[in-house]
């Protein structure tokens, strides 16, 4: 791995998780406030994540298995916030019904 590739790959991986965090945060606040603008911002954050993952898959000096893992992670990041939100809403609703 060349010295510039080392830094670029590492920073891209960090950016990927950071974008996932921004997506989760904006998605959560957007759902709480029923804000379309925030949900669009969340989609943009995920778009950044997907773009970053695509660049990593295309250009990073990593083996095919690692690139597959990065692509799969990018897809998993897409589903985690909605699934978590759905689960939290369901448990809180059930709890409300029980009390």
């Amino acid at each position: 791995m060349s010295p510039p590739a080392l830094l670029l790959t590492s920073l891209s991986l960090g950016l990927m998780v950071l974008a996932a965090g921004a997506y989760a945060l904006l998605y959560g606040i957007g759902r709480l406030k029923n804000s379309r603008a925030l949900l669009i911002a969340a989609a943009c954050a995920y778009g950044l994540l997907a773009l970053d993952a695509a660049v990593l898959v295309q250009a990073a000096p990593l083996g095919q298995a690692w690139k597959l893992l990065i692509a799969a992670s990018a897809l998993a990041y897409l589903r985690i916030p909605p699934l978590t939100w759905w689960y939290l809403q369901r448990t809180h609703r059930d709890e409300g019904a029980h009390t």
Binding site: A20, Y27, G28, L69, T84
Partner: protein, 465 residues
Amino acid sequence: MSRSKALAVKYLAAAVLFFGVMTLAGLLSATYYINPDFLFGYLHFSTAKILHIDTMIIWLLMGFMGAVYWFLPDEFGCEPAGIAAAEILFWVFVAAVLVVAAIFLFVQWGPAIESTLWLFQQGRKYVEAPRWAAIGIAAVMLVFAWNVIGTALKAHRITGLMAVMSVNMVPLVLLYLIALPKIDNMAVDLYWWWWLVHLWVEATWEILISCIMALTIMRLLGTSRRIVEGWLYIEISLVLGTGILGLGHHYFWIGTPDYWLGIGGFFSALEPLPLLGMVVHAVYDAGVHRMRTTNRPAFYWTLAEAFGNFLGGGVFGFMITLPQLNLFAHGTQWTVSHGHFAFWGAYACGVLSVCYIALQEQRRLATVDGPGWIWAFVLLNGGLVGMVGSLLIAGMAQAFFERAIGGSTLDAFIAGQENPWFRLGIYSRFGFGLMFAAGYLTLAWNLLAVGRQQSAAVARAVPAE
């Protein structure tokens, strides 16, 4: 106040005290990077560093124990089993830590014979404590485990949360025993040593802090036990599912077989996934309760825990966890940066949250608020983020110039240490370290002072029971 809660207050106070020692030793360690002649002939960098990382383990462990002793009587409705032994062992624990610290400061090392391992130190990072102290810590852990498990047996009832905590006590005690044997082969020694360091930190401690944070959320936000326990089971499954074999990222370069490169890289890459769920959960809880709570510092430290864990463990960890990148980054300030952020986010913020919860009940305060905790919160978190950012720059410079360009030769190491980017990172780390230290002092003052006038007024109004 129950005996368990009184003991909890002692543990939490000791934790905050050792947090201060850790901060001071960290500042000392940072000073050596700026002035390598600092305290030459009196106190080595290695000793300051040992004090820094060992007190980090000790203060967090004491914080966890304090938190558990605080919540235990509420969970079971009775005093913990073996509370008298726990009370005695608290003083034994504190005295042992002080004696070991004195040995590190004034004796430092001994001849390369067996008695040095027993009396002075074992020379294994994080568990340098000599064997007599390691046996003492094992005894403290054993009694701690009995306090939890024995109380469940005594009360003839158990909650899901306490069942998780009770089961977790077994590996918590057993894994620490790895601190004791002497293994001559360094690769074999490191293989098992990582079981202690990684599996304590990324398995048993994760479960312990998850249980503590679950109890904290119930207390702070009134969230129902059913919801909290449901989430706890999911979170623990994910954390253990990724974290246990994530151990492999420590096996990349210690002489273990090649398959650990794949196992370690794969499971470590999955580790940010559960942390993302925690971020969503934190937003949900904060939003549903509209940030309303009677204990704002505890609430904000809980939020800091969720976000700090994600950033420190997730983002900073993922940058260096694949073996191709870890080859260049391991052992540099880059990993130090990740370590600082992850420990702070995953554990320290949670312990500080419990300190404020205990303080509210102990001083019978209707609300906990005021400017003091905000200053402490901003200075500590600002200082920490500044430090890890600085260390990231320094570590990247090392990986780039010393490892990737220089090929890890001695000349390249020296060139890396003299590189302007590395120097910039090291100087700014010291500056932000001072900010962090100021935050610690503010926190200590705030913990001592907050609500004193208010509780004095309550005490005057309500005569002692």
